[in-house]
């Protein structure tokens, strides 16, 4: 892709879709934290209607119904964005594929959300994949925003990565680890298992992000294109650890309460959202490092090819 293929409109639309997805993640986290997932027992209608009255929009129904409305809006935005990509002459084949996957993902997510409502006995089995798709959809939209950005389309493969496990591979591994950790967090929140797997995952992710950041600063600290997402990921990691501990302490302290209360709800929601933002930051680093870094052997191959031409 070249600078000529940068489509500002598509990039802005992708960025707006990513922001809308963050709002949807907040709405979803509010549903789980307030134990509101079963407050509206039917789907796709709510109490037999598409729009409920103010007499029903109260207590936990507020969270569940808002989640449905925001999810519907994100679904329509994704459909509109996908249509715009396919109609755009400057859109690459890869962008068309990514936007199509996003559209399929949001439809799949809506179906799984519906199954979660209709089969309350299988809460965890459905809710955990629902959370995984939510986070995956978010990073997919972030990836689309990245590949449509000017910085991505003007960057050249110009740097040497370390031999063996270089930054490109390390950051890609970190993305996978953060995604698994978000699934473990969802499993804990939905009661599938205890806190231990999530804590173990937190240790692994902390080490991986710390090592990835350190490697980035050591080898490419002078290059803002890589340094910025690395520092952002590390900053978010620190905030995430603090939020995780605070949310857990608040939750343990509130076990005797009759209902979910503050600050437990807000801390848990913030923990979920900052987790998603951490994933987006390490994804940005992984995509950029895989884009511009090449191992010495790859660079040698590239130079040989250039000379031959």
């Amino acid at each position: 892709m070249t600078a000529a293929r940068v489509n500002k409109g598509l990039h802005r639309a992708a960025a707006a879709l990513a922001c809308a997805t963050v709002v949807l993640l907040v709405a979803g986290a509010l549903v789980t934290s307030n134990e509101a997932g079963d407050s509206v027992p039917d789907w796709p209608l709510s109490f037999g209607r598409w729009l409920i009255g103010s007499d029903q929009f109260k207590a936990n129904v507020r969270f569940e119904f808002s989640h449905r409305v925001i999810a519907g809006a994100v679904g329509f935005l994704t459909a509109g964005f996908t249509a715009a990509v396919w109609l755009s002459k400057s859109a690459s084949k890869r962008l068309r594929m990514l936007s199509s996957i996003a559209l399929c993902g949001v439809i799949l997510q809506a179906m799984i959300g519906g199954l979660r409502v209709l089969f309350p006995a299988h809460k965890a089995e459905i809710a955990v994949p629902h959370a995984l798709i939510a986070q995956s959809f978010f990073v997919l939209v972030v990836a689309i925003a990245i590949v449509t950005s000017r910085s991505w389309n003007t960057a050249a493969q110009s740097r040497t990565d370390a031999e063996g496990i270089g930054l490109a591979k390390l950051s890609a591994t970190t993305v996978g680890a953060v995604l698994v950790q978000l699934v473990l967090g969802a499993g804990f929140r939905h009661g599938a298992f205890g806190i231990t797997p999530h804590v173990a995952g937190a240790v692994v992710v902390t080490i991986l992000i710390a090592v990835t950041t350190a490697r980035t600063l050591r080898d490419h600290g002078d290059y803002a294109y890589l340094r910025k997402p690395a520092l952002l990921a590390f900053g978010l990691l620190i905030a995430q650890i603090m939020l995780g501990i605070s949310a857990y302490v608040a939750r343990v302290r509130s076990t005797a309460e009759a209902q979910p209360l503050e600050p437990m709800v807000s801390l848990t929601v913030a923990h979920v959202v900052v987790g998603a933002l951490t994933l987006a930051a390490v994804l940005t680093l992984a995509m950029r490092s895989n884009q511009i870094l090449a191992s010495r052997s790859e660079q040698f191959e590239l130079r040989s090819r250039a000379l031959a031409e």
């Binding site: 307030n34 134990e35 509101a36 997932g37 079963d38 407050s39 509206v40 027992p41 039917d42 109490f47 007499d55 029903q56 109260k58 207590a59 936990n60 129904v61 507020r62 890869r94 594929m97 990514l98 996957i101 309350p120 006995a121 965890a124 089995e125 955990v128 994949p129 995984l132 798709i133 995956s136 996978g176 995604l179 698994v180 699934v183 499993g187 804990f188 929140r189 939905h190 009661g191 599938a192 298992f193 205890g194 806190i195 231990t196 857990y248 939750r251 343990v252 076990t255 005797a256 309460e257 009759a258 209902q259 979910p260 209360l261 895989n290």
Partner: protein, 276 residues
């Protein structure tokens, strides 16, 4: 590259689903369900020599203070309650209300008992379940009503019976439900108003009672035999006592809980906390 990412993502997705679907919690529930597989039992024939079991549930030590409930999320609930508080500990002069008391073992498990024709009643009034603890026999009808001016949903969360979740608008007709298998106890929630909980004890017989305000309970028409008297409180936990009911006899068995040694819910264990 994209293909590799998709394969990796599918692997994570499948792993997540399998871990949750086949996890230890599910296995435990399935095991418990297997143990209670119903076997054909002979029908009970009364000899007219049934006895009575009575007693009181008491608490030593100070009961935890009730917690305030925030009903501000629904004005109709707030209007119905001036000072809403939790019902976990309903203790007066050391007498404990809402303890589910039942018999197990002996003739209680040996025979098939006819299902009562009258319905048990569970009402939603003042954004609370009334009664808070209810006993029924398996397959007995439970008439669920909504006396409030707001919509509720009724969501029992059993492990051995079918889970269901239905809303009930104000002024709508009663719902007739039943549980087909014995299970002690099933937590019932209203997910609209998260403070609303009730517990239903489902047994294969009708030798149960729920302690009243004075902590007393009475179980009538008990066939003579050796039993285990089980008492269950939602926070204090379970206690068992061996009792013998003689022909036309009356047994008095008081049960005392100690507030200081009350069990902690597993959610207080830092290593095994599991969310509701």
């Amino acid at each position: 590259m994209l293909k590799r990412i998709m394969i990796l993502w599918m692997a994570i997705f499948m792993a997540a689903f399998l871990i949750v679907a086949c996890g230890p919690k599910k296995k435990k529930a399935a095991d418990e369900s297997d143990k209670t597989e119903e076997t054909k039992k002979p029908a009970y024939k009364s000899n007219g020599d049934e006895g009575t079991v009575t007693g009181k549930i008491m608490l030593t030590g100070a009961a935890p203070a009730p917690k305030r409930i925030d009903m501000g999320q629904d004005a109709k609930c707030g209007e119905a309650n001036s000072n809403p508080q939790t019902e976990t500990y309903m203790v007066s002069d050391g007498k404990v209300q809402n303890v589910f008391v039942y018999l197990k073992g002996g003739p209680a498990d040996k025979y098939e008992y006819p299902v009562p024709s009258e319905s048990a009643e569970l009402d939603q009034r003042g954004c609370r379940y009334n009664p808070h603890v209810l006993g029924v026999q398996a397959k007995q009808d439970i008439k669920i009503t909504n006396s409030d001016a707001t919509t509720h949903n009724i969501h029992p969360t059993p492990t051995k019976n079918q889970e269901w979740n239905e809303s009930q608008a104000p002024g709508s007709g009663a719902k007739d439900k039943s549980f087909s298998r014995p299970e002690t106890l099933i937590k019932v929630k209203c997910n609209v108003h998260p403070w609303m909980t009730a517990y239903i004890g489902v047994l294969g017989h009708s030798f149960y009672a729920v302690s009243g305000k004075d902590g007393s309970f009475t179980i009538k028409n008990v066939p003579p035999g050796d039993y285990t008297l089980v008492t269950w409180h939602e926070d204090l936990g379970e206690q068992t006592q061996k009792i013998k009911v003689t022909a036309k006899g009356s047994v008095t068995q008081d049960v005392t809980y100690n507030a200081k040694t009350a069990y902690l819910p597993t959610s207080m264990n830092m290593a095994t906390v599991v969310l509701p």
